[in-house]
């Protein structure tokens, strides 16, 4: 009797799960960048809300569920989280890992072997472009640092730095963008006076900044703010080792202002992936985000929305939540030909797809047309302190 009950319960669970579309969403909820992560997670949820509010998935309006897990911006934690999502929750695809190291590790050890598509919201390491061999399962909705590193080098030149010291955290994201930056900066005729890795999560970086501080006034700092970036910058300011700082997304957080103080950051500039606010897509997104209280222009928030919305479109286009068909569908809905779909236009897209038409999603963060590596082009902004807060300005 007990066995029968168990079997019935199991069948019920299985059928109720089958009636929904589930995607896995490993985000960096804890770890070094929880501040950056929170609005991105909110954007992911907002996209799911829009899908479900405008008719859900497929003809019978199945629910589109985002199953969240914590990848902690850490390769090991990401592998654990995604293993659980794929094997236990049985998700159809992964929208998520925020950090490059986490994205690469989970794709290589779990998602690719399981044949599950990964669409990262913000992983930007150039290594992700070339990591796949014969499969087409890793995509991202944020631009590669192969471009951002160059943009940063141009910015350094424009700021008048002829020499610069480079310090990077030893992980997939920071080491990769530092390498791109160094090559580009030297290519433009600049001198890199020191190029040192630093270990994340140390209590003190005074010897690091002392060693490099004698060589230049300018520091290019590639680090996550929460795992050493703030401490390193504080140590550099305390010892007056460096005057000017530049860096990328990993450092751009309000946490920096709160911890170090805006008055000490007047000579700092950080770049990040940004949206071109003049496009109709961004206007549509900004209206939706404002209504929901999500900060539309924060780093990677628009990318998070795009990734989730595109994943829902791809599954709708594939006609089922089987893992195999999703990758081809993702390419089909993201680029032309087809009716242009803007953020939030789920009902319109669903109607076109139901009638057998083609769609072309134009995202909030950019046009989101994937190239052969599953990468998208993007814009960048530079942020400086204006009136005690970060003010972003589009540069490319």
């Amino acid at each position: 009797m007990k066995n029968v009950l168990m079997a019935t319960a199991a069948t019920l669970l299985a059928t109720s799960a089958m009636a929904d579309v589930n995607i896995g969403n490993p985000m960096a909820m804890t770890g070094p960048i929880p501040d950056l992560n929170a609005p991105i997670a909110a954007a992911v949820d907002l996209a799911a809300t829009h899908v479900n509010a405008q008719g859900g998935m497929f003809a019978d309006g199945e629910a589109f569920n985002v199953i969240r897990a914590d990848s902690a911006c850490d390769p090991t934690a990401a592998v654990d989280a995604v293993t659980k999502l794929i094997n236990v929750n049985g998700v159809s695809a992964i929208v998520g890992p925020v950090c490059s190291g986490a994205t690469i590790a989970q794709a290589e050890s779990v998602a690719i072997p399981a044949g599950v598509l990964t669409l990262s919201v913000s992983a930007s390491s150039p290594a992700i472009s070339t990591m796949e061999d014969g499969t087409d399962l890793v995509f991202r909705a944020a631009a590669s640092d192969a471009y951002q590193g160059v943009a940063l080098a141009e910015l350094a030149m424009a700021n008048g730095y002829s020499d610069i010291a480079v310090s990077y955290a030893n992980d997939d994201y920071n080491a990769a963008i530092a390498a791109v930056f160094v090559e580009a900066f030297e290519g433009m005729g600049g001198t890199v006076t020191a190029n040192e890795a630093h270990e994340p999560n140390k209590a003190s970086y005074r010897s690091e900044v002392a060693t490099m501080g004698g060589t230049s006034d300018n520091l290019a700092l590639f680090s996550y703010y929460g795992s050493g970036g703030i401490t390193l910058m504080r140590n550099a300011l305390e010892t007056s080792a460096f005057t000017n700082f530049i860096g990328a997304d990993g450092m751009l957080s309000d946490e920096l202002i709160e911890q170090i103080g805006a008055e000490n950051l007047m000579t700092s500039t950080f770049t990040t992936s940004a949206s071109d606010a003049s496009t109709p897509s961004f206007a549509a997104w900004a209206a939706l985000a404002d209504e929901a209280g999500v900060p539309a222009s924060d780093p990677f928030v628009a990318n998070g929305y795009d990734a989730t919305f595109m994943m829902a479109l791809a599954i709708e286009h594939a006609g089922s939540d089987d893992r195999e068909a999703i990758a081809a569908s993702l390419r089909a809905i993201a680029s032309g030909p087809g009716e242009v779909i803007l953020p939030g236009q789920w009902a319109e897209a669903k109607a076109i797809l139901a009638a057998g038409g083609d769609i072309n999603y134009e995202g909030a963060a950019g046009n989101q047309d994937f190239d052969e590596n599953g990468d998208v082009a993007g814009n960048f902004s530079k942020s400086t302190i204006v009136d005690g807060a970060w003010a972003a300005e589009l540069i490319q």
Binding site: R206, A210, E258
Partner: protein
């Protein structure tokens, strides 16, 4: 770029090394005492440090809401009592049931405790970093002036002066406790031989409680000093310190509090000094690898002299 005033070594390598060494030393005291008296490696020690710093922050925030700006060293006092209760509570409910069992069980219990405390802190205070003291700590101007006149300018922010002074006071108090008081002598006796101590009428349970209290105070101080130094709080700050603190305890000799202090200072200095350009202009060792220095020292010590510098217990 600063002008090299010829005192770069002391200001940027030696003093930071000592600051780090003080924090390691205080943490290692607690580890070595629990290891010596209770005979297990307490993995939850780093989390106790971390929760102590969070509680201190809370005390400061409460006082701040009442319009009172408390110095961390003052706010630390009420927080210490909570941490000691936490220490005693975990011992009573999680470690005591395993005391007669194999050591590995209580080690695993402490490992579980580590994860429980960290998760609890994440639930209560959230996963975001918290600001302990905002802004940049400028060097103490008076000290800079006086030493500058003497031709050896020392650049040291107030927070480091507090950390040094605090560590010296705690180590002196500890040495008084261990050498001059009955309970201190009983602790040393239990550390040397628990059975013999029991036979001579020492109340072992009382000694164990005292160990947790002393270890708790030191862990608390280490956590708050660490937070004062890095000026922020985050939930893995204690765990990151755990392995160097173990290295310090092993280097000094398990069960030897002075050994732990010495080991902590050696590990802290070795980490910072390994990046000094001893030969030529380049760092001797890339700063990215300085954590490895602590463990290289520990491994060499275990091979050459497993009982540690101060003749502690060998494995």
């Amino acid at each position: 770029m600063w002008d090299a005033f010829g005192f770069e070594f002391v200001n940027f390598y030696f003093i930071p090394g000592l600051v780090l060494g003080c924090i390691y030393a205080l943490g290692a005291i607690g580890i070595t005492l629990t290891f010596g008296i209770l005979r297990f490696a307490n993995f939850a020690h780093g989390e106790i440090m971390m929760s102590g710093a969070y509680l201190t922050w809370t005390m400061m925030a409460i006082a701040g809401a009442a319009g009172l700006a408390l110095h961390p060293l003052v706010a630390m006092v009420p927080a210490t009592f909570i941490v000691i209760l936490l220490f005693l509570g975990t011992d009573r409910w999680f470690y005591k049931p395993f005391r007669k069992e194999d050591t590995i069980k209580v080690v695993m219990a402490s490992f579980g405790m580590m994860l429980i405390i960290r998760s609890a802190v994440q639930v209560i205070w959230g996963p975001n970093q918290l600001t302990f003291v905002p802004g940049i700590a400028r060097p103490n101007a008076t000290l800079q002036q006086i030493t500058g006149d003497l031709g050896a300018m020392i650049i040291m922010p107030n927070k480091h002066i507090f950390i040094f002074a605090g560590t010296v006071i705690i180590v002196i108090a500890l040495s008084y406790l261990l050498n001059r008081t009955r309970i201190g002598k009983a602790m040393r006796a239990v550390s040397d031989s628990p059975d013999l101590a029991h036979v001579t009428g020492i109340d072992v349970d009382r000694v164990i409680r005292a160990t947790w209290i002393v270890g708790g105070i030191c862990a608390m101080a280490a956590g708050v000093f660490l937070a004062m130094d890095i000026q922020m709080l985050e939930t893995t700050m204690g765990f990151r310190m755990l392995l160097p603190m173990f290295a310090a305890a092993i280097l000094g000799g398990i069960g030897k509090p002075y050994g732990a202090v010495f080991g902590g200072l050696v590990i802290g200095l070795a980490e910072e000094l390994s990046a000094y350009p001893w030969i030529g202009d380049a760092p001797l060792l890339s700063p990215g690898y300085k954590t490895g220095v602590a463990f290289a020292i520990m491994v060499i010590m275990l091979i050459v002299r497993p009982q540690g510098l101060f003749k502690g217990r060998s494995f």
